[in-house]
Structures are given as C-alpha cells and as structure tokens.
C-alpha cells in the first residue's frame, strides 16, 4: 500500500501549475476549540453534577454528540429526573366530607389538567377550570395543597414543576369556603 497519495495524475492543486504545493500552515483560530480542548475542560467546569458526593468530572457536552435527535432529547429530559428520583411521589388527598383519605402518585401526571381530571375521576366530583383571576369559581370544589412552608395554597398558581416539588398533601375543599377562595 503506497504511503503517498499519487495525486499528480488527476489532481486539482492549490498554487501555480508546475510548482509544488505550497507549505500550508494550519493557523488555529482563536475562537474555535479542538476536541482535546473541549474534553480537557471537562474536569474544571462547574455544572450541577459537580456538587454530587461521588461526582465524576462533569462532561462538557460536545455539540451534536452523541447523535440523539433534539426531538428525543426533549422527551427524555424531563423524564430523567423522574426515573432517578425513585419510585413515585405519593401524597395524601382529602376531600371535605369524605370518610377516608386517598393517596396519589404525583409523578404519574405531567400537568394540572391531567391531575385535576384524575381527582375528578377518583372522587366523582367536578372541579372545573382554573383561571388566574377567579380561581375555581363556578364549582363547588377547590383543590388546595399544603406546601413546604405549611401554607395552604390554591392548586394551579405556580408552574407544574414547582408545584410537584413543593406539594406535601392535597385537600379538595367544598362549599362556601371553596367559593370564597377565588375572591381573595
């Protein structure tokens, strides 16, 4: 196997015909990093993973590698936390007037509509639609939750991710007390 490419026969060359290919200098561009730069940076970057107890050096992500489509990446991103977080996030659910409490796994749901639908099915009641202004007005029931500070909050005000990380238990209030909640 020849070591040299025998280019002279068919070649396109840089430089004048008859002259040899000029010596080419590879000038590194200041803004571009080579792969070895990127990989060696890995040990000094400060991402979340650095703060774990047994953290291996955090990996700086190379653009487009591994070749996973963004479509797929977006789907997995949210799930990764769920799976690693263990087996479910069960909270107690009480309904005013019901003889006993239930438990549901908040991790099974991805949004408020899904959670509320499940609650409606579980307790055979209608909670209705949430609005920022009116709360759950127009319904006999209002879903509330106890957050980490011990306060009772109306379900739906904060983004979903924030809700499931702060919700300790749920209470579905009924009657005048519930109707009053929308008007604060």
């Amino acid at each position: 196997m020849e070591n040299d490419l025998n280019l002279k026969a068919t070649e396109l060359r840089l430089g004048l015909p008859g002259s040899d290919e000029p010596e080419r200098q590879m000038i590194p561009r200041p803004n571009k990093r080579t792969l070895s730069d990127i990989v060696s940076e890995g040990s000094t970057s400060t991402t979340e993973e650095d703060h774990q107890d047994t953290a291996p050096p955090a990996k700086v992500q190379i653009v487009g590698w591994p070749p996973v489509r963004s479509y797929r990446k977006n789907c997995l991103q949210g799930k990764k936390d769920e799976v690693e977080g263990g087996t479910g996030m069960y909270v107690k659910v009480s309904v005013d007037g019901a003889p006993y409490l239930r438990k549901i796994d908040l991790k099974v749901y991805r949004s408020y509509p899904q959670l509320l639908l499940a609650l409606e099915n579980m307790f055979k009641l209608t909670i209705g639609a949430y609005s920022e202004r009116e709360g759950y007005n127009g319904s006999d029931y209002a879903p509330t939750y106890e957050d980490r500070d011990g306060d009772w909050m109306l379900v739906g005000d904060v983004p979903w991710e924030m809700f499931i990380s702060s919700c300790k238990r749920l209470r579905i209030m009924k009657g005048s007390e519930a109707r009053g909640l929308g008007c604060v």
Partner: protein, 585 residues
C-alpha cells in the same frame, strides 16, 4: 422495415406499459432508451422523488414532468438532526408550492423531510390542489396548528396527514375541529409530535368515528389513558396505533375497559407512543401482542423486567425500538422469543451522563445477532465495544443492510485490548456484502477506511465522527466506495488532498458534509471554481471565511451536486464557492 417497427406501437400502448414501471431508477432508464420513449415517459411520470431540494429547481422539474401527482422532497442535511446545521440554513418548501400551485393543479401527494414549512405554505396547499390527498411532514418545522387547520378545512379528500417528529407551534388543539363533518376519507393521521396538553378530544373522537378506512392513528400526549379505549372502540379496524399518555393510577375498571378495547382490534399490528408508561397497564396489551410486528417503546422509561415480560408475548415482532433500559438481559430474551426480528434500535436513556446508568453492553447486540436470523437493520447506542464482538456479529449476520453503532464516548477503544476498532468494523463491511448504510464510532484509524473502501461496494451512506488519522482515510472511502451517495463527516483530520484528488467522485454523489475537519478555505474555493456542477457551500457563524487566510480550515462544508446552480436563499452565514456565472432556467 426496422424504421416501421419503431413506430408500430402507438404511444398509448407504451404509456400503458410504462405505467407498470414504478421505481424511479427504472423510469429513468426507460427515458434513456430513445427520444420518443423519453417524451412519452415524461408525460406519464406521476411520481417524482427529489433527494435534495437544491439539486434542481421547481421549474426544471415542472418543465420535464408536466403531469406529476406526487412529489417527495428532502431539505436539510442529515446532521441537522443533531443541531449541526444552524437555524435559517434553508430548505424552504414555499417556492416549490408556489410553482406547483400553478403547474400541478391536480397534485395529490406531498411528502417532505427536514424542510421548513410555513403556515403560508400550508394555506397555499389547501387552496391550490383540489384533489389533495396526502401530506407527510417528516422532521419538518416552521408551521403551527393554524396551518393545519387550513389543511383540515379545505382538503375534502384528505387521506393522510402525518406530522411525524415535526416541530409544530401548537397554538390550540382546536384545529382538529376544522375537519368538516363530511370528511370521512382519512386513512392515516399522525399527530404524535404535538406537544400541548390540550386537544379537542371530542372533535378527535368524532373524526375517528366517521372515517371507516382509518388504518393508522398516532395520538399525542394530550390524550390520556382513560380516553384511549373510547378511541379504539370507534376504530377497531386500526392496523397501526400510537398511544398517547399511557400512565394513570391503576384502576380495575379503566384497565379492563382498555384491555377490552385493545382486544377488539383484530388487525392491530403496530404500536408506538407510550409516553410516560405505568407498567401495570402493559398487560392490557397482551391480547394483541401475538399479532404485533412493530413496537416502538423508545420513549417508555420502563425497566428491563417489564420490557422482558412484554416482549416475550410478541413472538412475531419484526421491528423493535426501545431504550437501553432493556439491558443485555432484555435483549437476550428478545433473541430467544422473537425469531422474526428484522430491525432493532436501542436508544440511550442518559446520553450525557458520564457513567453508565444501565447494564447494556455489546453482549446484548451479540445475543440478538446470534438469535435473530432475519436481523437486517441495527441502530445501537452503548458505552463499550470490542473487535471480537463486532467480528462475531458480522459472522453471525452477513445479511445486515444497515449497521449504525454509536459508542457514546468518542474515540473509545476496544475495551478488552485497548486497540482501535478497525478490525471489528472491517469485519462488518467484509461479511455484510449488502451493507447499504454504516455509522462508525469508537477509536478508529485510517485502516478502517481502507477496509470500507475495499469491501463497502454497496455502501450508499456513511457517517463518520472523531475517526481517522489523515487524508488517506477519506481517500480510501471516496475512491473505493462505488455506490456511495451520502457521506457525512465530523471532527476528523481530513483535509484538502483527498477532497481535491477525488473531486469528480463528488458529482456521482448526492452530498458530502464535513464539519470540524481540516479542509481549507482555499481548497473550497478551488473546488467551487473547477466543478460547476457542484454547489460548494461554506457555513461559518462566527465570521466570513475570507476574513482569514486561505489556508485556514473552514468550520462546516456542505457539497452537493446540482443542475440548478447556486441557491439564492442562503442566510448570511453560508457562502457558495466559485465565481462562474450560471444561467438559471
């Protein structure tokens, strides 16, 4: 006497004969026989496939084939899937729709892949083609549910609306209600990519209920588990079904309702969807598992034992897509249960994690290669590989036609010997004589390219990353792979020599992508000047390539053959090389 024979067949007879010839290759061959055959053929060609939308202009296509009913177009290069092609690069379909609106009023089918589709394009389609039947938007972007509403409302004979893996601005689930009550023609509806949690469920239910020919239905996450049974009961004739959300609190009545609905679908052969799965609901599928030939669980974050249980109920499985939660043990079970398996894709659950999170190694793939005699197509993400395993796989499965291996960490050597994986991949190309598509990974020298150039005679598409030592590697591929159509390379030390020495080869290929390699700006300019039938496009988002010395390497390079000349819809960060003035048709 012989002259008379040439005219003895009336054109109509030849047309009838040609109508039995469906493949593009054969049609192209027919048109080369003689001028009259070319003339007859071009008037009766109904289907056109354009693998690169910039290789030809809409007007050229229309001029040659005036009576087209079905068109398939592809836009961005494949590496756009991995964010290597900047936004705004191109691939716009509007110019095509605008030209076809006038020229092909009877157009029935439009299939697009990796193109930018706007609401304006969709509205133009809805308005222009009275007999429009099929719209497939595969990995497209740029449109919203408003555009879909226009399609739904206007296309009275719509048979297929398939949005697979497209990015849609999901403004409202209400667009489904735009299908008129008179629309009963749907055969295929795929809305799985729609992200919002709202869908007009009642409109969906009614639509499904009034389309007796509906064979394929793929829902999105907005459709909750309890609703699936309702849908299935309205469409028991379904052959292909994509579930929505497959998770809920386990309730016996919901479960039995779902199981009953599935069992009433006697034709169901293909399942997908399974966003957010609760394993307890998987047994609801058991009644249809024996008939299943295709199963896509690649979004289902369920663990190996549940996967094994499900797969062991599917002896007829031909196609399986799954996450690496399946682990080696799951693949071993697959190998023993599913003897009809033809295609396997294993995706990474944690692609960016530094350490393995699951026990999936080369062993799983070896087991499948041994146990599944019909295996032809593999896509496998893993974290370690050995030459020995690859040689075994190659020897077990010489019938492989597609082999894409992604070892997650770049430049990973054989974990047993610490050598490059040249010999392993070499065995793949040597034994698998019908291999058409190959993706490489791991530590690789120029030797692997020598094998590929020597043995990869049927290879049509090759993907290379972080591999090779010198231009010799690229030269082996370009000079040896006779059937090569698409070559995509990133982060390899390939430079000017091999590219310029094999310039003529590039005219026989659809396209070449090279990013983060060592091709100089000067070489790109030379190539552009000398090869008028190639568009040599340099992509650089930081600064124009001519602001640096000519010997500097370009960031990204995309070369493709074209009869349309340079394109004019380029964004500021794309430059076409070569100064030749081209007369545009």
């Amino acid at each position: 006497m012989q002259k008379k024979m040439a005219y003895s067949f009336p054109d109509e007879v030849l047309e009838q004969v040609f109508s039995f010839i469906q493949s593009d290759k054969d049609r192209n061959a027919v048109s080369l026989v003689c001028k009259s055959w070319d003339e007859i053929e071009r008037w009766c060609r109904r289907k056109v496939f354009i693998g690169n939308c910039y290789a030809v202009s809409p007007r050229m296509v229309i001029r040659r084939f005036p009576e087209v009913r079905s068109i398939k177009l592809k836009g961005k290069p494949h590496f756009a899937d991995f964010n290597l092609v900047p936004d705004g690069w191109g691939g716009y379909v509007l110019p095509w729709i605008a030209e076809m609106a006038g020229a092909y009023p009877w157009l029935e089918e439009i299939r697009l892949k990796r193109m930018v589709v706007t609401d304006e394009s969709l509205e133009l389609i809805a308005k222009s083609f009275k007999n429009f039947k099929v719209l497939v938007l595969f990995s497209c972007e740029g449109f919203s549910t408003d555009g879909l509403a226009a399609i739904a409302a206007s296309c009275k004979n719509l048979r297929e609306l398939d949005l697979r893996e497209s990015e849609v601005d999901d403004l409202s689930g209400h667009w489904l209600a735009h299908f008129p009550e008179t629309c009963t023609s749907l055969v295929s509806l795929n809305i799985s990519c729609l992200r919002s949690d709202e869908v007009s469920f009642s409109a969906l239910e009614r639509l499904v209920g009034r389309c007796p020919n509906l064979r394929s239905l793929r829902l999105n996450r907005a459709v909750t588990l309890d609703k699936i049974a309702n849908i299935l009961r309205r469409a028991p004739q379904l052959v292909d079904f994509g579930t929505g959300y497959y998770a809920a609190e386990l309730q016996p009545d919901v479960f039995s309702n779902l199981a009953g609905a599935f069992s009433s679908c006697k034709e169901l052969k293909s399942l997908s969807g399974f966003w957010d799965v609760v394993p307890a609901y998987l047994p609801a599928l058991y009644s249809i598992c024996p008939r299943l030939t295709s199963l896509n669980l690649s979004y289902a974050t369920i663990q190996s034992p549940d996967l094994i249980k499900l797969v062991s109920h599917c002896p007829r499985l031909q196609r399986l897509l799954v996450l690496d939660y399946v682990e080696d043990s799951g693949l071993e079970e697959l190998a023993s249960s599913c003897k009809d398996l033809q295609e396997l894709r294993v995706f990474p659950s944690d692609p960016f994690g530094a350490e393995p999170n699951v026990s999936l190694t080369e062993q799983g793939l070896v087991a499948v290669s041994l146990g599944c005699p019909k295996l032809r197509s593999v896509l496998y993400f893993c974290r370690r590989m050995s030459n020995a395993a690859l040689v075994t796989i190659a020897q077990n499965r010489p019938n492989l036609t597609r082999f894409r291996l992604c070892i997650i960490e770049p430049k990973t050597p054989d974990y047993l010997t610490l050598e490059p994986l040249d010999v392993g991949f070499g065995a793949i190309v040597e034994h698998c004589k019908d291999l058409r598509r190959l993706s490489l990974s791991g530590l690789l020298t120029d030797h692997v390219f020598e094998y590929i150039g020597t043995y990869g005679k049927k290879l049509e598409m090759l993907s290379v990353a972080f591999a090779g030592d010198s231009d010799l590697g690229l030269h082996h591929v370009l000079s040896g792979c006779e059937s090569l159509r698409k070559l995509e390379i990133r982060d390899c030390p390939f430079g000017d020599k091999a590219l310029l020495a094999n310039a003529a080869k590039l005219e026989t290929m659809r396209s070449l992508w090279m990013s983060s390699c060592a091709v100089s700006f000067g070489a790109c300019k030379l190539l552009g000047q000398k090869m008028p039938k190639l568009n040599v496009e340099v992509i650089d988002e930081t600064e124009p390539p001519d602001s640096r010395p000519e010997s500097c390497p370009v960031d990204k390079l995309y070369i493709y053959r074209s009869v349309a000349g340079p394109r004019f819809d380029m964004p500021p960060f794309v430059w076409t090389m070569g100064e030749a003035v081209r007369i545009l048709h």
